[in-house]
Structures are given as structure tokens and as C-alpha cells.
């Protein structure tokens, strides 16, 4: 394994890999702040209109949300296995696990898409169609559904980026094998982060009780 550092700034490849992982952690810090701002907006408005948020939450499909949570957690398991097997230089196996990760990610997006469609049919998404809501505080429930769509939408965009990265690593492109484990680890960090965001979104959106 005689691979050279990618960046001309580094003399040896080990140092560069440390830098790559560290860079990913710093980037996840920025992501946490990005979602943090959105969560603050959610919190402020929920404190203002607890009834609308509770009533709105009851209308969302808890089954689909739970299903998606299970899918995403399983995808993170596959990702973790991919990272560890790549470290153990079992690259073909790691590739297979990456495909599973990507497929589960895609399944999440499909379920989410169906759920949006279903919500729209029920008249729960005022941005996409007519709005019918018969729960408490109907004046402000629209705000809850808008925030639901916006938060899950931002999450879905992150997941789509994650899926493309995972597929890129899973494709049999000639990347020097010595470099592969670190790359998988960095993308793995990102994948787990997107998963963790969902772990917060799920109770905040689906499990609110009035």
C-alpha cells in the first residue's frame, strides 16, 4: 500500500487521514448548529401553541414514522458494520454493507414520500393542498404542519446527499484501497449524524401529546 496523500499539504498519508476525520467532525458541528436553529424555532412555537402542536401531532401517521425510524436505525447498523469491516480490510464485504445502507436510506425516502402524499390526501399539508383539520386550536395547527414539512424536508435533503455519498463509495471505482477505510468512516459519521437528527425529529413531531 504505497498511496500518496491526496492533498499536497501533507507529507504522509496517516496525518492526512486524521485531518479528514477531524474535518468531518468540525463539519458535523456546523450541521448541529444548522438543525439547532430550526429546533429553536420549533420549540418557541410549540411553547406558544401547545394545543395546536399536540393536536397536529396526533394526526400524523405514527405507524409510518415508527417504520421509518426502524429503517433508519437498521441502516446505521449496516453503516457501522461497513466501517468496521473496511477497517479490517474486508472491502468487498464493506461494499455490500454500503449497498444495504443506501437501499435502506432509499426505502426511508420512499416511505417518507408516500407519507407526504397520504398527509396531503388527508388535507394536512396546507402548503401542498387544501387544509382540513378538526383538532384543537385550528388557527395555529397549519403552523405545526408547515414546520413538520420543513423539518422533515431538510432532513430528507441531508439523507439524499448521504445516499449519494454512500453509493459513490459502494461503486467499484478505482480508489486506492488504502484510502477507502477512512473515507467510509467519514461518510459513516455523516450518516449517523443524519440518523441522530431523525431520532430527535421523531418524538418532537410524532409523539407529542396534548
Amino acid at each position: 500500500m504505497t498511496d500518496e496523500p491526496v492533498s499536497k499539504a501533507f507529507d504522509e498519508v496517516g496525518r492526512e487521514r486524521e485531518a479528514d476525520t477531524f474535518g468531518m467532525w468540525v463539519f458535523l458541528g456546523t450541521e448541529a448548529m444548522l438543525f439547532g436553529a430550526v429546533f429553536v424555532a420549533y420549540t418557541i412555537l410549540r411553547l406558544k401553541y401547545p394545543e395546536a402542536f399536540g393536536g397536529g401531532s396526533e394526526k400524523l401517521s405514527m405507524w409510518l414514522g415508527t417504520l421509518n425510524t426502524a429503517i433508519l436505525l437498521t441502516s446505521s447498523l449496516a453503516m457501522a458494520v461497513a466501517v468496521e469491516s473496511a477497517k479490517a480490510h474486508a472491502l468487498p464485504f464493506a461494499r455490500r454493507m454500503l449497498w444495504i445502507t443506501a437501499l435502506l436510506g432509499a426505502a426511508f425516502v420512499c416511505v417518507k414520500g408516500y407519507e407526504y402524499f397520504d398527509d396531503m390526501q388527508k388535507g394536512l399539508l396546507p402548503l401542498l393542498g387544501p387544509f382540513h383539520y378538526d383538532g384543537p386550536d385550528s388557527a395555529h395547527a397549519g403552523l405545526f404542519f408547515n414546520i413538520y414539512l420543513m423539518m422533515t424536508g431538510i432532513h430528507a435533503v441531508h439523507l439524499l446527499i448521504g445516499i449519494s455519498l454512500v453509493v459513490y463509495l459502494a461503486l467499484p471505482i478505482r480508489i486506492p484501497p488504502g484510502r477507502q477505510p477512512k473515507r467510509i468512516e467519514s461518510v459513516g459519521l455523516y450518516w449517523h449524524f443524519v440518523d441522530i437528527v431523525w431520532i430527535f425529529l421523531f418524538p418532537l413531531l410524532y409523539l407529542v401529546h396534548p
Partner: protein, 538 residues
């Protein structure tokens, strides 16, 4: 841009032609890409300011209508804050110097560095489009619900531009943080780093943590404006104060993005021209971090009259006073560095001394505004305008000039005319004070910001201010001309014209593409001037 300029085996010589510049991953060339783009934006923002000052010569609105006036100060603010001040020192001098000061060959992620410039240019297209298409009338602060519901300007376009440019800031921040951690020269411990590196590091931390909050806020703003999600719209139950909280959670730390690198430059220049090690090195380093931390806790002082609770106001007022402590530590340490030094007044030093004076003055004015009771009176008056221009223009732009003049021989391998440099530095100081000191008085007398007409008794101060702006514009045009001239025809610069310490002076001027022929090793503390060294405790 095929510069026939310098010489030897410098980074200038590694390929000529547009392509070799636009596809470069060399941090020194990317610094040039930024320098040219930022200079263009500085003059665009300056043109808007010029029109504002011409309009304000008379009390009537005779040059532009009130609507056009709103668009002028909005463009001035947006361009100057996000397209000049935030990236100014980090993306140009920082980009060029950080690897050199660390004895490294490049930043940790050279391609990310180039990408950041392209993202910057892409974002700027949106903003330029918004300007050409007719402008934005919300002020640079985009307050909701004016921006989300009522404004008829190109808010979404301008916000998209700022949103995209934010990613370029984040990329630079990540690159600087990782580089400082992973690419220091052998023997270069954290307390052997120049203060410029410390301030760039503190700046990068703020960039990385604050900019994403702005991104989320602008995203909500645009979604609110285009789709009406209503988060900031009171008619739908949304909360306009939430916008202000989120916006200032970014924009107050951004003030420190805009001033910390300037403090770093001055901390390099003053020891060099006083021939003494920086006084209290460690405290100056820690105070940079202190400013970055406190900067996140004071955003509420922009909202004393916005309807936030009085108790929150009191806490924010107290915390705002606390920021004065690390800032004052720096000023006192610069002053103590000068004491008993062998001070010479070369051009960079003139700018640096101008910075210290103007920053201290603007900072003291800030204490008036941090005081809850006085701010209720002074809020949204020209006193506020004068205060932050003393910090942003008197402080940051002057420090940027100090840095450009200090490192110009290193960057270009050429010397500029010392004589012209000194004249420009003097004119800039005079012009600046003439422009902005009258605005303190105007604010104290009660003239509100953002109006294009005013009562006739304010005219004398406004005329003085506009006269100062003429001097200032002339002073800013001078370096553009003589520094450009020096780039092509200036006298060749030696490797270390100022006999400065610091790794960047150990390589040739201009440096070769790989920065150092031999990997430098650091064996002692920075600022080894006059046979002494800054205190070092391990």
C-alpha cells in the same frame, strides 16, 4: 491576468494564463482570486455609500427617492458585510499566510479552498442580480415581517446570495481549523503560534458555529416569503422576534468574525515596528478566544427596544460590558508593547496605530450602547452607525490595509512607494474621523438612521461627514493604484524587508509554489525582537 510580474521560481511562475489561475489549488493563488473579487465588492459597496453621502448633503430628498435610498443602504450593508468584511482578512491574507506561518505547504484541504471561492462567486451572482434587477429595501438585517410579507424588493434573491456565500465562509473556517491543528511545523506548539494564527483560529470557530444559524434563518425567511410557512409571520401565529433572535445570534458573533483577524494583523505589525516582543502574549491569545466565546452571549443587545423582557435586557447589557474586558486587554497589551520600544513609523505601522486609536474609540462608544438605559435613547440613531463604522471601517479596514502593506513585499516580491503609503495612511485616518465623528454628534442630537431627509439644523454635521467621505474615497483609491503599480513595476523586495520574525519571512519573496525549500523547524517563542522573546511557559 497573465502577469509578467515577478521572478525566480515563485508561485507566480507556476503556469500562466487564466486556466492556471482558475483551476489552481495553491492557497497563495486562491488568496489572489479572493483579493480581486473582494476589491471589486469593496468598490461596489463604496459606490452605494457615496450616493448615500451625496444625498445627505442637503436636508431634502433631492438626489434619490426614499425607496431608492432604502435600496442604497441595503446594498451597501449586504455587500460590505458579507461580500467584503467577513471574508476580507481571512480569505485573502489568512489564506496566503496561514500555511506560511505554520511552515506548511498548503491548507489541509486545497480543493475545498478553491471550491470556497467558486461558491463565493456563485452566491455573489445572486446578490448582483438582486442589485441589477432593482435592489432590496429591507436593510441588511432582513427584519421580518417586512422582508417576508411587505417588501417589494428582491429579498429572496439577495437572501439566497447571502445563504450561499455562508457556505464558502464555513468551508474556509473548517479548512483553517483543521490546518491549525494538523499542519503546524515541528516544534510549533500552540503557544509558539503567532497571534495572527490565534485570531484566525478564533474567527474560524465563530464562522463554523454561527454561519449555519444564519443559513437556517435565511432558509426559513425565504420559505416564509415564497411559500408562506409563517414561522415569522404574526398573522399566521409566527414570531417576528424569533427572526431577530436567530439573526443576531449569527450577526453579533459575525461582528467578531469581522474584527478578530484585524486584531491579529495588528499584533504582528506592532511588535515588528516597535522592535519588542508582544507584551503579554498569552493573555492576547486567550483574549482572542474569550472574545469569540463572549461574542455568542450578547446578541440581545441589538434588541433592547424590540420587546424582549427587561430581565433579558439587563443580562445582555451586563454580558456586553464583559466583552470590553478581553478587548481592552488587547489594547493595553499593544500599548505596553510600544512602551520603551524603538518605534519606527513605516506605512504598516501607521495603519496599525490608526487601528488601535479608532478601535479603542469605537469600543468605548460601544459601552454607551451596551448600557441598557442609554441605548433606549440612542437606538437606531447615527450614534450606532458611527460606533460600528469605527469598529468595522476604522478598525477592520484599517487593519486590512496594515496587513496588505506589511505583507505586500512577501506576497508580490515588490516594494511600494513608502511616501505614497504614508500619505494614504494619514488621509485615511483624517478622512475617516471627519466622516464618522460628526455622526456621533448627529446621533446624540437624535438623527435617526435610514432616512433620506432630516431637519435643517442637522445639515452642518452632515456636510462635514460627506466632506470627510470625499477624503476617505480618495484615500481608498490611492492604495489600489500604487499597490497595483508596485505589483508590476515596484522595486524588488528582499526576503525580509522589515526584519520581522515569523516563519513566513524565512522563505523567498514571493514564496515558491511549495512555500519552503526546507521544512522549517520552530525552536522558540514568536516575536523574537530586540534580543528578547515573548514569555513562554510550557
Amino acid at each position: 491576468m497573465t502577469l509578467a510580474a515577478p521572478d525566480r521560481s515563485s508561485y507566480w511562475r507556476e503556469g500562466a494564463g487564466i486556466r492556471s489561475w482558475l483551476l489552481t489549488t495553491d492557497h497563495k493563488r486562491i488568496a489572489w482570486l479572493y483579493l480581486t473579487s473582494l476589491t471589486a465588492f469593496f468598490f461596489i459597496g463604496g459606490a452605494a455609500a457615496t450616493l448615500i453621502r451625496i444625498e445627505l448633503v442637503t436636508p431634502q430628498g433631492d438626489l434619490v427617492s426614499d425607496d431608492v435610498y432604502n435600496r442604497l443602504f441595503t446594498i451597501h450593508g449586504i455587500v460590505m458585510v458579507w461580500f467584503f468584511l467577513v471574508p476580507s482578512i481571512p480569505a485573502t491574507l489568512g489564506n496566503f499566510l496561514l500555511p506560511l506561518m505554520l511552515g506548511a505547504k498548503d491548507l489541509a484541504f486545497p480543493r475545498l479552498n478553491l471550491a470556497s471561492w467558486y461558491v463565493f462567486m456563485f452566491g455573489s451572482c445572486f446578490t448582483l442580480y438582486a442589485i441589477v434587477a432593482g435592489g432590496v429595501d429591507t436593510g441588511w438585517t432582513f427584519y421580518a415581517p417586512l422582508s417576508t410579507v411587505y417588501s417589494n424588493g428582491h429579498v429572496s434573491m439577495a437572501a439566497a446570495g447571502v445563504f450561499i456565500v455562508g457556505f464558502s465562509t464555513i468551508m474556509t473556517g473548517i479548512n483553517f481549523i483543521v490546518t491549525t491543528h494538523k499542519l503546524r511545523a515541528p516544534g510549533q506548539t500552540w503557544f509558539r503560534l503567532p497571534i495572527f494564527v490565534w485570531t484566525l483560529y478564533a474567527t474560524s470557530v465563530v464562522m463554523v458555529l454561527a454561519t449555519p444559524v444564519l443559513a437556517a434563518t435565511l432558509l426559513l425567511l425565504v420559505l416564509d416569503r415564497i411559500f408562506g410557512i409563517g414561522v415569522f409571520d404574526p398573522t399566521k401565529g409566527g414570531d417576528p422576534l424569533l427572526f431577530q433572535n436567530l439573526f443576531w445570534f449569527y450577526s453579533h458573533p459575525a461582528v467578531y468574525i469581522m474584527i478578530l483577524p484585524g486584531m491579529g494583523v495588528v499584533s504582528e505589525v506592532i511588535p515588528c515596528f516597535a522592535r519588542r516582543p508582544l507584551f503579554g502574549y498569552k493573555l492576547v491569545a486567550y483574549s482572542s478566544i474569550g472574545i469569540a466565546v463572549f461574542g455568542f452571549l450578547v446578541w440581545g443587545h441589538h434588541m433592547f427596544v424590540s420587546g424582549q423582557s427587561t430581565y433579558a435586557g439587563v443580562v445582555f447589557s451586563f454580558l456586553s460590558f464583559c466583552v470590553a474586558i478581553p478587548s481592552a486587554i488587547k489594547v493595553f497589551n499593544w500599548a505596553m508593547t510600544l512602551r520603551k520600544g524603538q518605534v519606527s513609523f513605516d506605512t504598516p505601522m501607521l495603519y496599525a496605530l490608526g487601528f488601535v486609536g479608532l478601535f479603542a474609540f469605537g469600543g468605548l462608544a460601544g459601552l454607551f450602547l451596551a448600557a441598557l438605559g442609554i441605548d433606549v435613547d440612542l437606538h437606531d440613531t447615527y450614534f450606532v452607525i458611527a460606533h460600528f463604522h469605527y469598529i468595522m471601517v476604522g478598525g477592520m479596514v484599517t487593519a486590512y490595509m496594515a496587513g496588505l502593506h506589511f505583507w505586500w513585499p512577501k506576497i508580490t516580491g515588490r516594494m511600494y512607494s513608502e511616501w505614497l503609503g504614508k500619505i494614504a495612511a494619514g488621509l485615511m485616518f483624517l478622512g475617516f474621523n471627519l466622516t464618522f465623528f460628526p455622526q456621533f454628534i448627529l446621533g446624540w442630537l437624535g438623527m435617526p438612521r435610514r432616512y433620506h431627509t432630516y431637519p435643517p439644523e442637522f445639515q452642518v454635521w452632515n456636510v462635514l461627514s460627506s466632506a470627510g467621505a470625499v477624503v476617505l474615497a480618495f484615500a481608498y483609491a490611492m492604495p489600489l493604484l500604487y499597490l497595483t503599480w508596485a505589483l508590476f513595476w515596484g522595486k524588488r523586495a528582499p526576503n525580509n524587508p522589515w526584519e520581522a520574525s515569523g516563519l513566513e519571512w524565512q522563505t523567498t519573496s514571493p514564496p515558491p509554489e511549495h512555500n519552503f525549500d526546507v521544512q522549517p523547524v520552530v525552536t522558540g517563542p514568536p516575536y523574537q525582537y530586540g534580543g528578547q522573546a515573548a514569555e513562554e511557559t510550557a
